[in-house]
Amino acid sequence: MKIPAIALNTFREAVRNKVFYLLLFFGVFFAFSSRFVSMLSVGDQQKVLMDVGLGSIHFFSVLVAIFTGINLVYKEIEKKTIYNILSKPITRLEFVLGKFAGLALTLLVALASMALLFFLFLFVTTGSFAPRCLIFFGLLYIELLIITSLSLVFSSFSTPILSSIFTVTLYLVGQVLWTFQEFKTRLHEPFSRYVATALYYLLPNLDKFNVKNEVVMDMPLPGGRLLAAAAYGIVYVAALLTLAVVIFRRRELK
């Protein structure tokens, strides 16, 4: 019962921090950009509209995941509220998992609201619904959980600025990790190849969750691929949370 209580508290804190103002911004941005894009583009308006919608949802939700995530632990330490929490019969494991669950809930509500706005605008503008976008939202949510876990790991031992730099860097690397496969073939030294291979498997491969193109262009999305991506994401999140707990347990709170 302790983890849900911390999670709910984290969710309330995110709401108090006006995270959901971003949704309002997204709504206005999408409404204006959809009109603008429709005016400027020639042909494939629905495709461009969906690209803008899904791209901005991706961008805004990643922003929420990074910048809310890095404050998770740091704020508690900075405001010394963590002493209050940990003085109660709450373990550090429960604290970290509770914080993660709270942010996961925040992201779920934010993503669901943006998805709802997206479907609404799409329907009003084009008269169609595009249910395949739900696949994109599902995988994006797993990607957001990875980013949150990453920021949780960094925020458990570093400052918010450094944590955000680390998380943003890993997010960007994760988006282009697919290039490592080609990069490896250009390396001549076996050691460099081993390092590149190790990095490829160690770093989060976020491109696996990017199915915007397949969804928008109505391209086939094999169930096996989706399940593999989801399983990869869940295992990766579990690994990162384990690491965050290990680091946080070793941290001395003064």
């Binding site: 894009v37 583009s41 494939d44 290039t179 928008v216």
Partner: protein, 280 residues
């Protein structure tokens, strides 16, 4: 205090607007008639777009439309192939850039070979679409007058799934235009057999009539020439060719009627006259 700050804000905003207006009246934005566009190749931009390649392709496409609407830029066509290649490398299934890019290249820039290259790329990346090779075939036929290329492109378009009957007719017409009469006759016969609309049936009939006439005309011309060689005159009527043993039987038009023959000039005319070749 609050009201004063607000008033100051409004005053500063209006001043900024006035300065902008003052600046605009002294600057000729379109003075520069040359543009310089440096875009990395599609593969590099795919990496640099960090998972937003669709969005980058969309924005580049929208920018390209505006760029190619700036007709005062005299060297804008120097970059067109690279720009549209980058867009279509980023999102190979995005169909509009192939079509719009080829319109700009061909219809505005007169670069039809380039337009065809872009459309062929579209066809390679979207094998279920017939529109790219159809458009390309049209440029080859109408603008390049390259019937062989047009035939190849229309044939490829006709073989794509869901290709409308019009494309098969275009292909058969290209075969006819290259004087490959037997093959053209065979294709139009197939079209006539499989036609389920009046337009296809009429089109097939007109072509079959004309092809049949052109084949018969060749036979009759040779026979009349042979007759003239033997008897020093033109036959008085076509049946004389049969009577004198030059032809076993006199060919008739596609509807089974006699051709019109002028004994003075020795020329043959069909009752229907289609001028597709002479007007091309």
């Amino acid at each position: 205090m609050q009201a004063k700050a607000l008033a100051l804000f409004v005053a500063l905003t209006l001043t900024a607007g006035a300065l902008q207006f003052h600046y605009d009246t002294r600057v000729e934005y379109f003075a520069d008639r040359q543009a310089f566009v440096a875009l990395p190749d599609g593969k590099t931009l795919k990496v640099l777009s960090f998972g937003y390649r669709n969005l980058v392709a969309d924005f580049l496409f929208i920018w390209a439309i505006q760029f190619y609407s700036a007709t005062h830029l005299t060297n804008r066509f120097d970059y067109i192939e690279n720009i549209f290649n980058v867009i279509t490398d980023l999102n190979p299934r995005f169909k509009a850039p192939y079509l719009v890019g080829s319109w700009i290249m061909g219809l505005e820039g007169g670069r039809y070979r380039m337009a065809i290259r872009l459309l062929e790329k579209g066809a390679r990346n979207n094998p279920e679409e017939w529109i790219f090779e159809y458009d390309a075939g049209f440029y080859a036929y109408r603008d390049l007058k390259d019937l062989e290329l047009a035939e190849k492109l229309f044939r490829q378009a006709a073989e794509r799934p869901n290709a409308p009957p019009l494309i098969r007719r275009k292909w058969a017409h290209m075969v006819y235009m290259q004087d490959n009469l037997d093959y053209a006759f065979q294709l139009w016969k197939e079209i006539e057999r499989s036609a389920d609309d009046q337009l296809s049936r009429d089109s097939a009939f007109h072509h079959l009539y004309q092809i049949d006439f052109e084949r018969d005309k060749q036979i009759l011309k040779l026979a009349i020439s042979e007759f003239r060689h033997r008897f020093g005159r033109n036959p008085a009527e076509l049946d004389e060719l049969r009577v004198r043993g030059i032809l076993k039987e006199i060919p008739r038009d596609y509807q089974g009627r006699d051709y019109r023959y002028d004994p003075q000039s020795g020329t043959i005319q069909a009752r229907r006259n289609y001028k597709w070749k002479s007007s091309y």
